[in-house]
C-alpha cells in the first residue's frame, strides 16, 4: 500500500510540476537604457490599439439577444500602459471588450514571447470595460461559446488571434515607447451616475451599515506624466502622458437591439476625457496650481486618438450597478459618458504631486475554482460551475425573451425538497441550474482565474476575474485594507478571465440575476476575499514588514495552502474546431465609381444625423483603418472637423447589406455654435476615396423644437 501511495504522490508531483510553470520569453529584450536614472524610477510607455473587428461577428454580452454586428458606432480600442522601474514591466490594458478570456490572455502572452518582449502572462492585465457591443467568439469555455452565448454561438480561433495580435502589438509599441515618467494617484467620489439594480439582495447583506452605499461611487485615477531622464521630479505643465481610471458601472447605456460595435458609455467617456486633458494647461499666473480643465474643451473634436494623452478606463465594482439613464439610447449613453469623462479629466488634472520613484510590485495568483477552499477549515466551493435559470432572463439592462417563463425572472428559487432543511440544500443552494444536456459540464465555464495585487507608486489595484457586486467589492477591500494597512485600493473586475458574477452569500440566497450568475456557489465571495487575504499576506511577508521579522522570527503564513504566485496553469483551449466567421480579405477590388452621394437628415433615438449611402465595401474594411476611414470636412476649406476616431460618426450596412451608410450625429448640445449653418462634406479615405455633395448643417429643427 505504501508503495502505491508513494507512486501516486510522485505522479501527482509530476503532474503539478507540469501544470504550473513560468512561460519562458524568447530572447528577452530590455527596456531602453536611460543614463542617470535613480534606481526605482518609473518608466512608462503607452499605446492605443484599434481592435475593431470585421463586420458580421456576433456581439457579446446579451446572450442570445445579442445581434450580429452590421456596423461601427465607436471604434473599439485597447489603451496599453507598460509600466516598470527598469525591470519586470507589467502591461495594464483596459479594452473595449465584454470580458477577457484565458485563451486571449495566453494568446497575447505567446505572441509577446515570440516578439521577445519580456512580459509573461502573469504580468499582462487585460481589463475589459464590459461593453456589450464588442465581439464574441474568443471564449474557450463551452457555455460562453454555446447556444445561449450569442446569436452566432461558436468559438473562433481567428477572432481570438485577431484580438490577441492587436493587444500584443499595442504592448510591443508601448514597451518600445517606455520613457521616464512620474506617477500620481487620486480618488474622488462621483455620485449620481449609477444605481444598484438589485437593491433587495443588497439590503439583505449582513454588516451593511451607512458606510456602504448601494453603489461604489469611487473614481480612481492613475496619472502618468513625462519626465526628463534623470530628473527626480516632474514639471507637469502640460497634458499628461496617460491616465488610467477605474470606475464601477455597467456601461450599458445602449440597448441590446443595437447592431453596431461600440464601447458604450465608457467609449464616450474616454474620448471626452482625452479631449479635456489634451487642452488642459496650468494657470500661467499661478504655475504651482494644478492643471485646469475647462468643460468647453471637453467638447472639442478629439482628432487622432493615438497621439497625445492616452486615457484608459477600467471597470471597477459593477456587478449590480447600472447606469443612471432614463432609458437606453445613444444620446443618453453619450451624455452619461460625457459626465464620466469630464470627472476623469478633473480628477486627473487635480492630482497635486507626482512621484518619479515609488514602490512597484505585483502579485498574480491563478485560482482553481472547482471545489476551491474558501476558508482555512477546508470548506469548498461547488465542484462544477452552474448558471441559474434566473440568469436566463437577463439583467434589467438587457432582458431576454426567456422572461416569459416565471423561472427566468429574478428571485426564482428551487423549492426545498420534502424533508430537507435549508442547511441541507445541495452545493448550489436555491439555484436551479440552467442546463442543456444530461449533467453539469465541467468545461462549460472557466475553471481557473487570476486575482492580483498591483502597486505603482501610490496607486494600488486589486484585480478579480469577475463582476463583483457592491458588497463583494466592499468586503474584498476591507480585507485588503486591513491586511495591507493601506487605503484607496482600486478593485478592478473583469480582468484576464471571466467568471460572470460574484455575490455575497446573502445576495446569492435571493437568486436575482447576479446571484443566479454566480457560478461556483454561494461562497464565491468568501473564496475571493480569503485568497486576496492570502495574497496580501504573501506580499507583506515578501516585503518583510511583518512585525515578527524584526524580532528575528519567520512570519507565519496567513494561509496554510501553498501560494503559486506569479505562476501559470498550463492552458490549452479545448473548443471544437469551428469554421471561422472572419471574412476573407478581398483582393483585386475594382475602383469604386460613384457620383458624390447626397446627404440626408434623419433622426435616431431622437438625435439628428446626416447620412450618405454608397456601395458596400468588404467587411474586413471595418477592421482596417488604413483601408477605410471616415472624416467630416469643412467646405470649401476641407479642414478635418471630425473623424471616426471620435464619437459622432457611424458606419453601418443598409438596404439589407447591399450598401453602406455613413451617419454623422454630432453632439449639437455642445457644439451647436461651431457646427450649425456651416457647410460640410462627408468623406471616405483609404482604399477608396470619395466625398459626398456639400451639405449645410441645418439645425432649425432644434429651434422649432424649442419654440
Amino acid at each position: 500500500m505504501s508503495r502505491l501511495v508513494a507512486n501516486l504522490l510522485a505522479l501527482f508531483t509530476a503532474l503539478f510540476a507540469l501544470g504550473c510553470g513560468n512561460l519562458p520569453a524568447k530572447t528577452p529584450l530590455q527596456p531602453p537604457p536611460y543614463t542617470g536614472e535613480s534606481p526605482g524610477s518609473f518608466v512608462v510607455g503607452t499605446a492605443l490599439v484599434d481592435i475593431t473587428p470585421p463586420l458580421h461577428l456576433s456581439l457579446y454580452g446579451h446572450g442570445p439577444e445579442s445581434r450580429v454586428a452590421t456596423g461601427v458606432r465607436l471604434r473599439l480600442h485597447c489603451q496599453v500602459f507598460v509600466v516598470s522601474t527598469g525591470a519586470e514591466p507589467i502591461a495594464l490594458v483596459p479594452c473595449d471588450l465584454q470580458s477577457s478570456s484565458a485563451a486571449l490572455q495566453r494568446g497575447v502572452a505567446a505572441l509577446l514571447a515570440d516578439y521577445g518582449i519580456p512580459i509573461t502572462a502573469d504580468r499582462i492585465f487585460i481589463m475589459a470595460t464590459h461593453t456589450h457591443a464588442g465581439p464574441a467568439h474568443y471564449f474557450e469555455a463551452r457555455f460562453y461559446s454555446g447556444p445561449f452565448s450569442s446569436s452566432i454561438p461558436s468559438y473562433d480561433e481567428e477572432v481570438k488571434n485577431f484580438l490577441a495580435r492587436a493587444v500584443a502589438e499595442g504592448i510591443v509599441r508601448a514597451f518600445a515607447a517606455q520613457a521616464p515618467a512620474c506617477v500620481g494617484w487620486s480618488e474622488v467620489n462621483v455620485p449620481d451616475l449609477s444605481f444598484n439594480r438589485s437593491y433587495v439582495p443588497f439590503l439583505a447583506n449582513e454588516g451593511r451599515d451607512g458606510s456602504v452605499t448601494p453603489v461604489d461611487q469611487r473614481l480612481f485615477v492613475l496619472r502618468f506624466d513625462p519626465r526628463q531622464p534623470g530628473a527626480r521630479t516632474c514639471v507637469a505643465d502640460g497634458p499628461p502622458l496617460g491616465v488610467l481610471a477605474v470606475y464601477g458601472m455597467h456601461p450599458t447605456g445602449i440597448s441590446h437591439a443595437n447592431e453596431l460595435y461600440h464601447g458604450d458609455i465608457f467609449g464616450f467617456a474616454t474620448r471626452v476625457a482625452t479631449a479635456c486633458l489634451r487642452n488642459a494647461k496650468r494657470d500661467p499666473i499661478n504655475p504651482s496650481s494644478a492643471l485646469a480643465v475647462h468643460d468647453e474643451d471637453c467638447d472639442a473634436e478629439v482628432g487622432a486618438l493615438d497621439a497625445g494623452v492616452l486615457v484608459g478606463l477600467a471597470n471597477g465594482v459593477e456587478g449590480d450597478v447600472s447606469p443612471n439613464v432614463r432609458f437606453q439610447s445613444v444620446p443618453n449613453a453619450r451624455a452619461l459618458g460625457r459626465r464620466l469623462g469630464v470627472e476623469i479629466a478633473h480628477a486627473a488634472a487635480a492630482i497635486p504631486t507626482l512621484d518619479a520613484t515609488g514602490p512597484f510590485e505585483h502579485a498574480y495568483w491563478e485560482l482553481w475554482f472547482p471545489s476551491g477552499r474558501y476558508d482555512e477549515a477546508g470548506h469548498q466551493l461547488c465542484p462544477f460551475g452552474d448558471l441559474g435559470v434566473a440568469a436566463g432572463g437577463g439583467a434589467p439592462d438587457g432582458p431576454t425573451r426567456l422572461r416569459v417563463l416565471d423561472a427566468a425572472n429574478p428571485g426564482y428559487r428551487l423549492k426545498l425538497p420534502a424533508g430537507m432543511t435549508e442547511a441541507e440544500r445541495p452545493c448550489q443552494g436555491p439555484k436551479l441550474g440552467l442546463r442543456i444536456g444530461t449533467k453539469p459540464d465541467p468545461l462549460a465555464f472557466p475553471q481557473f482565474g487570476a486575482i492580483s495585487l498591483i502597486q505603482v507608486g501610490p496607486a494600488r489595484f486589486a484585480t478579480a476575474p469577475a463582476e463583483l457586486t457592491t458588497m463583494t467589492g466592499h468586503r474584498i477591500r476591507q480585507v485588503l485594507e486591513k491586511r495591507l494597512g493601506a487605503e484607496r485600493i482600486a478593485v478592478v473586475g473583469l480582468t484576464n478571465h471571466y467568471f460572470q458574477y460574484v455575490t455575497t452569500k446573502e445576495e446569492y440566497e435571493y437568486q436575482y440575476y447576479e446571484g443566479a450568475s454566480n457560478l461556483y456557489g454561494p461562497h464565491t465571495a468568501e473564496f475571493l476575499a480569503h485568497h486576496f487575504d492570502c495574497l496580501a499576506d504573501w506580499l507583506n511577508r515578501k516585503r518583510g514588514v511583518a512585525e515578527n521579522v524584526a524580532a528575528g522570527a519567520t512570519p507565519a503564513p496567513r494561509c496554510s495552502q501553498p501560494l503559486a504566485v506569479n505562476r501559470l496553469y498550463r492552458f490549452e483551449p479545448h473548443p471544437k474546431p469551428q469554421s471561422s466567421r472572419m471574412p476573407e480579405e478581398e483582393d483585386g477590388l475594382s475602383p469604386l465609381l460613384l457620383k458624390a452621394p447626397g446627404v440626408s437628415l434623419s433622426f435616431e433615438d431622437g438625435a439628428p444625423g446626416w447620412e450618405m449611402e454608397f456601395p458596400r465595401l468588404p467587411l474586413t474594411f471595418s477592421a482596417d483603418h488604413a483601408k477605410y476611414r471616415v472624416v467630416v470636412l469643412s467646405w470649401p476649406s476641407r479642414a478635418v472637423v471630425d473623424d471616426d476616431d471620435g464619437s459622432s460618426l457611424e458606419t453601418s450596412e443598409a438596404s439589407g447589406g447591399a450598401t453602406w451608410r455613413v451617419r454623422w450625429a454630432p453632439d449639437l448640445e455642445a457644439r451647436r455654435a461651431a457646427l450649425c449653418d456651416q457647410p460640410f462634406v462627408l468623406a471616405v479615405r483609404g482604399r477608396f476615396e470619395f466625398e459626398s455633395r456639400p451639405f449645410k448643417l441645418d439645425c432649425s429643427f432644434g429651434k422649432a423644437k424649442k419654440q
Partner: protein
C-alpha cells in the same frame, strides 16, 4: 421577433417531454396461435409530475417480413413512482386495422386497455435543474388487451379478443420550458422591516 428566433419558441411546447419508442413481443388473438408483433410510436410523457399523456402507435407483425397491421391512438396517465426513475402508465387504446392474425376481412376497430412500466435508464433529470433540452433513455415493459370489432360485410361479425406483451426501448426528449415549476418566486410586499434571510428560516 424574426422567424429564426421564433422557431424554438413555437416548437418547444410541442416537444416537451416526448419520445419515440420501439417495442416487440408476443401477441394472441382469439384462439389463433401466437404471433410476434413489433410496434413503433411517438408520444408524450410526464416529466416532473404525474399527468396525462397522449401518443400514437403503429403495430405490425413479423411474418415472412414486417406486415403493418394497425394504427392506434393511446391516451393514458403517467404515474411517476420514483421521480426520474420509474413510471407506471395505465391507458386506453383506440385504433383501426387488423389483429395480429387474419381472422376477419377488412379494416376493423379496436378498443382496449394497457399498462406500461418505464424504467428510465439514462437521463439528466435526476438532480434539480432547469433543462432546456435533454435526452432520456427508457426501458419499457407493457401489456395490453382489447377487442377487435370486424367491419360490416366481413366474413364474420364476432368480436375477437387480442392480448399482447411488449418490451422495448424509448428514446425521449425533454425540456423544462413548459414543465411544472420546480421552484418559486416568493413575493415581497415590503422592504421594511427586513425579513429574516432564507438561511435564517425566512423567505425572501
Amino acid at each position: 421577433m424574426n422567424a429564426r428566433s421564433a422557431t424554438p419558441v413555437v416548437l418547444a411546447p410541442l416537444l416537451v417531454a416526448c419520445g419515440l419508442h420501439a417495442t416487440t413481443g408476443p401477441a394472441w388473438v382469439g384462439r389463433e396461435r401466437m404471433a410476434w408483433q413489433m410496434n413503433g410510436g411517438v408520444g408524450t410523457h410526464a416529466q416532473r409530475e404525474s399527468g396525462g399523456v397522449l401518443g400514437v402507435r403503429v403495430g405490425s407483425v413479423i411474418d415472412h417480413g414486417v406486415v403493418l397491421k394497425s394504427g392506434m391512438v393511446r391516451g393514458g396517465y403517467d404515474a411517476i413512482v420514483i421521480p426520474g426513475w420509474l413510471v407506471l402508465q395505465p391507458g386506453l387504446d383506440f385504433g383501426a386495422g387488423q389483429p395480429v392474425r387474419h381472422v376477419f376481412d377488412g379494416v376493423g376497430a379496436y378498443g382496449g386497455g394497457s399498462f406500461e412500466v418505464r424504467w428510465r435508464y439514462w437521463t439528466g433529470d435526476r438532480e434539480p435543474s432547469f433543462n432546456l433540452a435533454f435526452p432520456a433513455f427508457d426501458v419499457v415493459l407493457g401489456a395490453r388487451s382489447g377487442v377487435w370489432m370486424p367491419p360490416e360485410h366481413s366474413n364474420t361479425t364476432a368480436p375477437y379478443f387480442e392480448s399482447a406483451v411488449d418490451f422495448g426501448l424509448r428514446f425521449g426528449f425533454g425540456t423544462d420550458l413548459t414543465s411544472p415549476s420546480q421552484g418559486e418566486t416568493p413575493r415581497r410586499v415590503s422592504l421594511t422591516p427586513m425579513p429574516p434571510l432564507p438561511s435564517q428560516g425566512g423567505t425572501p
